[in-house]
């Protein structure tokens, strides 16, 4: 297992390294004076000059990068000149909301995705398949924000069952908090579920044609046993990889869902920082998003290795 990790490490580091360069270059690519850009439009000349000094903008690009990266690695994430707070403070204060959303959404996504996938991959009857296929096609055609909007209109505006705007942290009041969390998480999870279910479904259907499934039948195994012990068990790897990619996308999707449901999470922070051109903040958020995506893929590869001895033992 350790060997497997070590093998994966170089490509992960490469992605992170490239991301850090892109994040570093973002304010410098933007038109105009980077110091002015970073300080924001309302900054005074002295403030801009102070930024130029503290970031060493007069030094060579390479040195600037090393200084900046060194700072980030040591936890000095910088100061947002627009919010006038340290970036780490800002991020920490918004983190709970986004994590709650992403975790619950992932749970929805995995449950619905695998559930639908197994249903589609094991139904033999034509109408059953048609139903699952239709559900998949519809869900695939509906992105998270649309699911969100529909949920808002139906459950929030028409029937008023659940709150659709704002939030209460679970740590403060779990009972109310979950009510605020339920719809956005469902929207996010539901929209990402079909790509998992589709993949699982096709993998299961093609696995059914494998000879070891025939062997299981020849053993006298019941259809139920064949589906779960043999077909699903060997197809799960594909689903796990899909889940890994989706979890990363889910964090990205949270930006839009938070906007729709007026949740004050990292996504909203990202939108505000982009609109305000708060580069110090954006840099860190971009790197964070990529880090989460890369890590979630790594975790799923580890799970995959645990599931499949061929991956585990040959690595």
């Amino acid at each position: 297992m350790l060997r497997f990790l070590v093998k994966k490490l170089p490509s992960i580091l490469l992605v992170l390294f490239a991301t850090s360069i892109i994040a570093f270059l973002l304010p410098r690519f933007a038109p105009g004076d980077p110091a002015q850009t970073i300080a924001g439009p309302d900054a005074t000349a002295e403030q801009t000059e102070a930024i130029r000094q503290s970031l060493g903008l007069d030094r060579p690009l390479f040195v600037q990068y090393l200084t900046w990266l060194g700072g980030v690695l040591r936890g000095h994430l910088g100061t947002s000149y627009i919010f006038n707070r340290s970036v780490s403070d800002l991020i920490l204060s918004r983190m709970e909301s986004t994590i709650e959303l992403a975790v619950l959404a992932s749970v929805f996504m995995i449950l619905i995705g695998i559930g639908l996938g197994v249903l589609g991959g094991s139904t033999r009857s034509r109408p059953g398949r048609m139903a699952v296929d239709t559900a998949n096609t519809l869900l695939l055609a509906t992105p998270a924000f649309l699911v969100g909007l529909l949920l808002i209109v139906l459950l929030g505006v028409t029937w008023r069952l659940l709150p659709v705007s704002g939030e209460v942290p679970l740590s403060e009041n779990p009972e109310i908090g979950i009510q605020y969390l339920l719809l956005p998480a469902l929207a996010l999870g539901l929209a990402h579920a079909p790509s998992i279910s589709r993949l699982l479904q096709t993998t299961m259907r093609s696995t059914r044609g494998e000879e070891f499934v025939d062997l299981a039948r020849a053993k006298g195994a019941s259809p139920r046993r064949i589906t779960f012990r043999h077909v699903l068990r060997t197809s799960l790897g594909a689903a796990v990889v899909a889940i890994g990619i989706r979890v990363g996308e889910l964090f990205g999707g949270a930006i839009i869902i938070e906007a729709i449901f007026a949740r004050n999470g990292l996504g909203q922070l990202a939108v505000q920082s982009v609109n305000a051109r708060d580069y110090q903040l954006v840099q860190i958020l971009v790197m964070g998003a990529v880090l989460v995506a890369v890590l979630s893929q790594l975790v799923t590869e580890l799970i995959l290795a645990a599931l499949d001895p061929r991956v585990r033992l040959d690595a």
């Binding site: 992170l16 096609t137 649309l146 494998e210 990205g252 999707g253 906007a259 609109n275 995506a293």
Partner: protein, 308 residues
């Protein structure tokens, strides 16, 4: 591998080998050479139930969008005094906060979306495919390209969009660039997978041993066999592209109001969701229809064209 059963078992879809006359298939349906057979396979895809539904929806949407200036000659900016009204005989989908007809704005919004798709998706498809196939000409270049694509893949779609918007400023061109870049790893990987699969095929090896040049092998043998999955991927990617446009516009980083796009209409619509839930109905419905038509077409192509 000694007898025919082996090869058939390996290659055929999971049906038991039905008895086929080994001497020859007696009467192959007469086919003319060249592109005709390919065209016919695609036509067959459009005759499946999914193909018909997908194509019909797409045709209606496309026609409406193209003919928008003819159908609604007054443009999308005509204001009236009736703001935020529901459906009525004069305004089928109601009006927006400035009293503009929402049906007109939705149609013009669809036009914007089509204009983005038409540019961004083929761009991404061609560039991505080319990048994925680079490996056929030079192994080193292929490996480098794969690394670059891995890096792009590390960025979730919206985050990539945010980065592009930061550099280019929000608007039509930023969306096109964001979508085109976002699709690169998607098409690149598909092309590379097809490439690797084809490189192992004996007819490719046969051509190589004949002394056919790398470029000719790529053009004559690999590309034609790689094109189907990439076209299916293209249809699927249109859906992703529409989502990216709408997503970025909703958070205010895409098409900027008052220019209508499906996303920018939703952006404003959400603010008035309590007063006029009708507002988002048009763009939502069109968005779902648009993405559904392409995913149905992708399904139809996938079934008829690839499973052969």
């Amino acid at each position: 591998m000694r007898n025919n059963d082996v090869t058939t078992m390996g290659a055929a879809p999971p049906t038991d080998t039905p008895p086929t006359d080994t001497s020859a298939r007696p009467a192959p349906r007469t086919r003319t050479p060249g592109g005709n057979a390919t065209v016919r396979r695609y036509l067959a895809a459009f005759r499946t139930p999914r193909g018909v539904i997908g194509l019909t929806i797409l045709a209606v949407l496309l026609l409406t969008a193209v003919l928008a200036p003819v159908i609604f000659p007054h443009g999308y900016d005509q204001q009236t005094a009736d703001s935020l009204r529901g459906s009525s005989g004069r305004h089928l989908l109601g009006t927006d906060e400035l009293g503009r007809d929402l049906l007109v704005r939705t149609v013009y919004g669809l036009r914007t979306d089509f204009s983005i798709i038409v540019v961004a998706v083929p761009l991404s498809m061609i560039a991505g495919t080319a990048l994925g196939l680079v490996g056929a000409l030079s192994r080193v270049a292929g490996a480098v390209v794969q690394r670059v694509l891995d890096i792009i893949l590390g960025f979730p779609g919206v985050v990539l969009g945010v980065c592009v918007v930061l550099i280019m400023g929000p608007g039509w061109s930023a969306l096109v660039v964001a979508i085109a870049i976002g699709g690169l790893p998607y098409f690149g990987r598909q092309a590379r997978a097809a490439l690797l699969e084809q490189m192992g095929r004996e007819y490719v090896v046969a051509a190589r041993t004949l002394g056919v040049g790398k470029g000719a092998v790529l053009w004559r043998h690999i590309l034609p066999n790689a094109v189907d999955p990439i076209l299916v991927g293209g249809a699927i990617f249109v859906v992703v592209a529409v989502f990216i446009e709408a997503g970025l516009s909703i958070i205010g980083l895409g098409i900027q109001p008052p220019t209508p796009s499906l996303g920018s209409l939703l952006n404003v619509g959400i603010r008035f969701i309590e007063q006029s839930p009708m507002y988002i109905l048009g763009p939502t419905a069109v968005l779902i229809l648009l993405s559904m038509s392409f995913s149905l077409l992708a399904d139809a192509l996938n079934e008829t064209v690839i499973r052969k």
